[in-house]
Symmetry: C2
Subunit: 412 residues, 2 copies
């Protein structure tokens, strides 16, 4: 039931020079599905990432952070990313760390590099041991089909409860030269029978200095993956990685230049696309909602209010029902935790319809106007706090019976 989410078209997915993708059916949890992906990078590549803030972060997340910290401090560059589905390797303690490291050793042996040059990612069941042997057994197959054209296969290989693969590309001209960006992502938050991970990977052929890339990945995440919510459950494995292979013609060594601005705009645009695809394919989703909070005292308080609306089960079920039951939005604003909020100055709009003015129902608001907007599959909620100049926008989906059905299904 994805909301206005078109299948990516293979021909539109542009290879990125300097990154090859190989996949395998390793039978990690179920047979006959792609569940293992290797991304092999040129030796010139830089890599940076942002990870879940969940204290129960998975073993592979801890290993990734350690390896990237090594690179940050001058160790050899990352040569490959290794992603498995079917098992999250989370809630697995010391054994989980050892297992994640063992997969890095295995791939490093095959690629003739150091284990610290591998970044591991897992998504799937929590609290169960990683089937290391099946992953190791699948690696030769994945390496045997390494290809720069494999983006669609890569998008399929990282799917769990996603109903369709998520991938997109951009090109941008910088200093007269074409820079290519391609990325993939997979489903967020509330994923069927204890699958729980949002993953995003974007690669570009530009050369980007390590500190610049580290800055950019955080900036782009804050404008994209950190602006989506399906059910408020922050997974143990969420990761967003930015890869600059350095094989292309453009070289970006600092932040304070036009070339950086151009690349950053393209990365953010692609990140937003991949993040919004996750929401559009949210479990049971029938509506795509953009929530914008403006004229707040700070971006932080605007985000608080936006997430309070976006997480409210009462609001989400009203959208599912196309019911302009808009008092629920006011209630969610009221408990967002902005302690000195003066609700008597607050305005609320649903697309172009002015619903509440100065904290109460707008005198000219008529339910039929709210009803008209609520019937749409894409809806913008706009709140004006009238207490500053800050703005924030998030994207979310509705809450349907199908969501409960999916997540109440016994793990199969």
């Amino acid at each position: 039931m994805a909301v206005n989410l078109a299948l990516p078209i293979v021909a539109n997915l542009k290879p990125v020079a300097g990154i090859e993708l190989g996949f395998a059916e390793a039978g990690i949890r179920k047979p006959n599905r792609k569940d293992l992906l290797v991304m092999k990078l040129a030796s010139t590549a830089t890599v940076a990432g942002v990870f879940t803030t969940n204290r129960f972060c998975a073993a592979p997340v801890q290993v990734c952070q350690a390896h990237l910290q090594g690179v940050h401090l001058g160790a050899s560059s990352i040569r490959a990313l290794l992603i498995n589905t079917g098992n999250a390797n989370a809630g697995t303690g010391e054994v989980g760390l050892s297992d994640a490291n063992e997969t890095c050793v295995a791939l490093a042996d095959l690629l003739d590099c150091e284990p610290a040059q591998i970044l591991p990612f897992s998504t799937g069941v929590i609290l169960e041991p990683l089937p290391v042997d099946r992953i190791k057994a699948g690696l030769p197959k994945a390496l045997s089909n390494l290809n720069t054209d494999n983006w669609m296969n890569a998008a399929e290989a990282i799917m769990t409860t996603d109903t369709q693969p998520k991938a997109d590309s951009r090109t941008v001209i910088i200093d007269g030269k074409t820079v290519t960006l391609t990325g993939i992502s997979k489903g967020a938050g509330m994923i069927r029978p204890n699958m729980a991970t949002m993953l995003g990977f974007i690669a570009t052929d530009a050369a980007v200095a390590q500190p610049v890339l580290e800055h950019l990945v955080k900036f782009a995440a804050d404008k994209s993956f950190n602006c989506i919510t399906i059910d408020g459950d922050t997974s143990t494995n969420d990761s967003f990685m930015l890869i600059a292979t350095g094989v292309g013609e453009v070289d970006i060594a600092e932040i304070d230049c036009e070339a950086y601005e151009a690349l950053a705009a393209a990365v953010i645009d692609l990140s937003k696309s991949l993040a919004q695809m996750i929401v559009r394919d949210g479990e049971g989703a029938t509506k795509f909602m953009t929530i914008t909070v403006e004229d707040g005292a700070s971006v932080e308080e605007c985000r608080k209010v936006a997430y309070s609306i976006g997480h409210s089960p009462l609001v989400k079920t009203a959208f599912f029902a196309s019911d302009p039951n808009l008092g629920r939005i006011l209630a969610a604003i009221g408990y967002a935790g902005v302690d000195d909020l003066d609700v008597n100055k607050l305005d609320l709009y649903l697309d172009d319809v002015w619903v509440a003015k100065n904290g109460g129902r707008h005198p000219e608001y008529e339910e039929q106007d709210g009803q008209r907007v609520m019937k749409q599959s894409e809806i913008t909620v706009r709140v004006n706090l009238a207490r500053g100049n800050a703005t924030a926008t998030i994207w979310t989906c509705d809450l349907s019976q199908e969501y409960v059905a999916i997540n109440a299904d016994y793990r199969s």
Copy 2:
């Protein structure tokens, strides 16, 4: 589908000397249902309350707070409480305040007291004007049947989407004299088509000094109504009131005495009963869950962790499905916002089953044991943080498709 919630029995509900209850069918939103309640108090009564922290708190909440502040500063005592269902008088701005005050004036005229001696309460649709005329027209009927025996009618008169009335009584012997306590409550949080209010009222015939009662109502709320959650939506109208009529033989003038301790214990016990009834009658609820977090560094962090578990849609749907998908609980603990939590020391129990030890699956945990507990209708989740001596407990219910169906229903 209430969970182990027995209908209150009229004969078990004890009249409280000094409080009479009268009700009416005022047709506020729908015909032929009790929707108006008056609680008339003896002139010796003291009253104290706690209210929603929602910034969009309803007009009657604001009026109640102002009138109680007057009493606190020495104005004449409260003589009556006026409660309507069908309309929350929230999100109604200045007009809402004026409307709430108008109902106080009307009842004060009939009772020959000051409007400031009336406390108004409303529950129902948000964003719509209060039908003041219908409330005023219903008052004479309500006053005509004032009776100390009307507790069951009172419990019915404040119902909205509750499937059954909620009422209970206690007696306690203090200094050899019997003190009686009776209370009623109505449904929390996520209430059908924009009904949204948790209300609780407890009356005792003891005499309790105003400052003592103000202390006790906060203390009791923190041990009861503030420990329940259904969907995390904090309503605009939540109120919990404690009434001491002063007509009985016991007089409590200070906190530091055994009489106070005895009364407080009874108030807390009754408050817990009324609060848990709300959870047991949560919309679509099929399971009653007790979540205890122990050995935390502070009560606040224990509550954070407990609420994170209790609010997680993934956890709640797993309980609905009787699926021991317990990694979801670890994930919810991990994102609870306890930044320095060392998950490697954490233990998790499901009733008597030790599920996770030192942050990972307990070596002897078997899924069939978790499955056995998950099939029960009452389940205790116990988390040990191993970082201090603080403890907190909350009560919540599961998330079912019925919940979504109820809340997605168009307002009728």
